[in-house]
């Protein structure tokens, strides 16, 4: 079930940014600022253009889904990896707590940082994604935790390349 959420490159990129939002509390402004820093402002000059890019995810509610071209996908990869790198200490802390909780057979949501992250992720998902694509509560938590660990790797050295390759590896042709 979780893998199904990551079949699409567009869905992966959107979910990745959503995981970052859920953990760090960053919003559109931070994404746009990072885009400018990376000289990608031309591809996402404002909230509307960013929203349109993220709306390309097939998991999203709404109509008129746009296609994502290579440059736009690249921009989202660069931004996602840069934000993950910027928030790497917090991501690492969260993964360390997840590791400890798992080793102690403690539910992750009982750990404050992870509990907030899971709550935020669940809320974002229910707000933004179609109900037909929604996994179960446990499935959603598993998806969130997998994305958290993914962020650890994307925020490290070579994270951009790793994210790019992962998008290709995980995605399956949808015919869209």
């Amino acid at each position: 079930m979780v893998a199904a959420q990551l079949d699409s490159i567009k869905a992966q990129l959107d979910l990745l940014l959503m995981a970052l939002e859920s953990l760090t509390g960053l919003g559109s402004e931070a994404i746009l600022t990072t885009a400018k820093t990376l000289h990608l402002g031309g591809l996402m000059a404002d909230r509307v253009s960013l929203w349109r890019l993220r709306q390309a995810s097939p998991l999203r509610k709404g109509q008129g889904r746009k296609k994502l071209d290579v440059e736009e996908a690249r921009a989202l990869v660069l931004i996602g990896a840069e934000l993950a790198r910027h928030h790497q200490p917090l991501i690492r802390q969260a993964v360390a707590q997840l590791e400890t909780a798992t080793a102690q057979n403690q539910p992750p949501h009982r750990v404050a940082l992870l509990g907030d992250y899971l709550d935020n992720f669940s809320n974002f998902y229910q707000d933004r994604m179609t109900e037909t694509t929604a996994p179960s509560v446990d499935g959603l938590a598993e998806l969130a935790l997998r994305l958290l660990i993914d962020l650890l790797f994307y925020g490290g050295p070579g994270g951009t390349r790793r994210l790019w390759l992962t998008l290709l590896d995980r995605s399956r042709p949808t015919g869209e």
Partner: protein, 438 residues
């Protein structure tokens, strides 16, 4: 024979994982984007993350082919989402990673030498991440040269058949065979076990790195490029920014060092030192590039023979030199005092001397092991065979031709006697390590 100056050591560190890679720069490096290394060996140290159930420190050692195989498996495993087993393409290495849970993974090390834990090894999420990171950092900074003489490595895949010095493929097993013979001969299990555990330690120093205990007393050793503490609990090169790709450091001997001070052409160390809790300071530490840039050595970087091509600009640390000095783009040549001190390294000097003379008898099938005490002038003060065959074969070794009181190894700077263990191997290799004091 390769000289000391030809060998470099790169080190990469993360919070739970450190990687030291040693190799000889290939002349082909001038045509590659990254330095090309041959005759590679590596030492990987995995330390517990901040999890109570984490296993203790683990040491993994292997050669270049195994390093590539390990890196390939780890990167594939991470890339595939850590959900399915990833295995290497090298049947000899037989390295595999399998998921145990969302945050736990099992590493089957195959033919790698593992100390500190019984295979398979359980890795936590942070350990896996740090492992992937240091391997990634190495691959961003250097390449392992593929085999150029396939006839010498029949039956091996390209990955498995990476160039090796004679005997390197079984280097680790041979090391432990030597260790076993020492244990048997001396018969003092505990102390000798410690000796064996430390056996490769000084050999790492001969590669161009300095141990902390030596650095500590080096008042004239201007370049403070050796960290003062063990890695445990310390995050090295933790900056995940693109420049953190350079978190690994590279050291090599100064090729311009005065030959008169050199101990001569010296083969590289055979193995890395497995750091132990008993001697934590013995493990040379990774250091961030900034430490090197702060070096007050004052010596001008000199391009070494077979200088590797420059790395990409984003990989170049602040200490990067001009384009005509590509060597320094990822390694800082040692100062003259440093090189001199390295040249005077006692085990290295003895090893170099004996290596030139050692001609193994045709029928020799096991290493010959001796305990030497070299006095401050460089002469053999005492010579003790460590087993029967070593006693019998003594007259066939270069040790027998050294006259008492003859200072063949050169004076020790501190004037003190040095106890050593010498292993003369049937394949022609000579291994010399510091012996524990009586």
């Amino acid at each position: 024979m390769a000289s000391t100056a030809d060998w470099i050591t790169q080190r990469y560190g993360e919070a739970t994982c450190t990687l030291a890679v040693q190799g000889q720069p290939s002349a082909l490096s001038r045509w590659t984007d990254q330095p090309l290394l041959k005759s590679v060996s590596f030492q990987l140290r995995l330390q517990p993350a901040a999890v109570e159930t984490a296993p203790p420190s683990i040491e993994i050692q292997g050669d270049g082919a195994q390093l590539q195989a390990l890196s390939s498996v780890v990167q594939t495993y991470v890339q595939q989402g850590r959900l399915a087993e990833a295995s290497g393409t090298d049947p000899r290495a037989d390295i595999r990673l399998t998921p145990l849970s969302l945050t736990q993974h099992q590493l089957h090390p195959g033919d790698l030498v593992v100390q500190g834990a019984e295979p398979p090894l359980t890795l936590g999420m942070l350990q896996l991440y740090d492992l992937a990171t240091v391997l990634d950092q190495f691959e961003a900074n250097a390449l392992v040269q593929p085999p150029l003489t396939p006839a010498l490595t029949p039956g091996l895949s390209p990955v498995a058949a990476a160039p090796q010095r004679p005997g390197r493929s079984w280097r680790s097993r041979r090391t432990w065979q030597v260790a076993a013979s020492l244990v048997f001969a001396v018969g003092v299990t505990a102390s000798v076990a410690q000796l064996v555990w430390r056996q490769p330690q000084p050999m790492l120093e001969t590669s161009a790195s300095r141990s902390t205990d030596e650095a500590a007393d080096a008042d004239d050793f201007a370049e403070d490029d050796v960290a003062e503490s063990d890695l445990e609990g310390d995050r090295i090169a933790s900056d995940p920014s693109p420049t953190a790709l350079d978190g690994g450091t590279t050291e090599e001997a100064d090729p311009q060092a005065d030959p008169s001070e050199s101990v001569g052409a010296t083969p590289p160390p055979e193995t890395f030192a497995p750091p132990t809790d008993q001697a934590p300071a013995s493990a040379p530490l990774p250091e961030p590039p900034a430490d090197r840039s702060a070096s007050p050595s004052g010596s001008q970087p000199q391009p070494a023979p077979a200088a590797p091509a420059p790395t990409e600009s984003e990989d170049v640390p602040e200490t990067a030199a001009a384009p005509d000095q590509p060597e320094t783009q990822f390694r800082a040549p040692l100062s003259a005092p440093q090189a001199a001190r390295q040249a005077l390294d006692r085990p290295q000097a003895v090893q170099a001397y004996l290596q030139e003379l050692w001609q193994p008898p045709a029928r020799l099938s096991q290493p010959l092991s001796y305990r030497l005490v070299v006095d401050g002038e460089g002469a053999i003060a005492t010579l003790t065979p460590l087993d029967e065959i070593s006693t019998t074969a003594l007259d066939q070794t270069p040790l027998s031709s050294i006259e008492a009181g003859e200072p063949v190894f050169g004076p020790n700077p501190d004037g003190e006697a040095t106890p050593l263990i010498v292993s003369l191997n049937p394949d022609g290799r000579v291994e010399v390590v510091l012996a524990p004091e009586d």
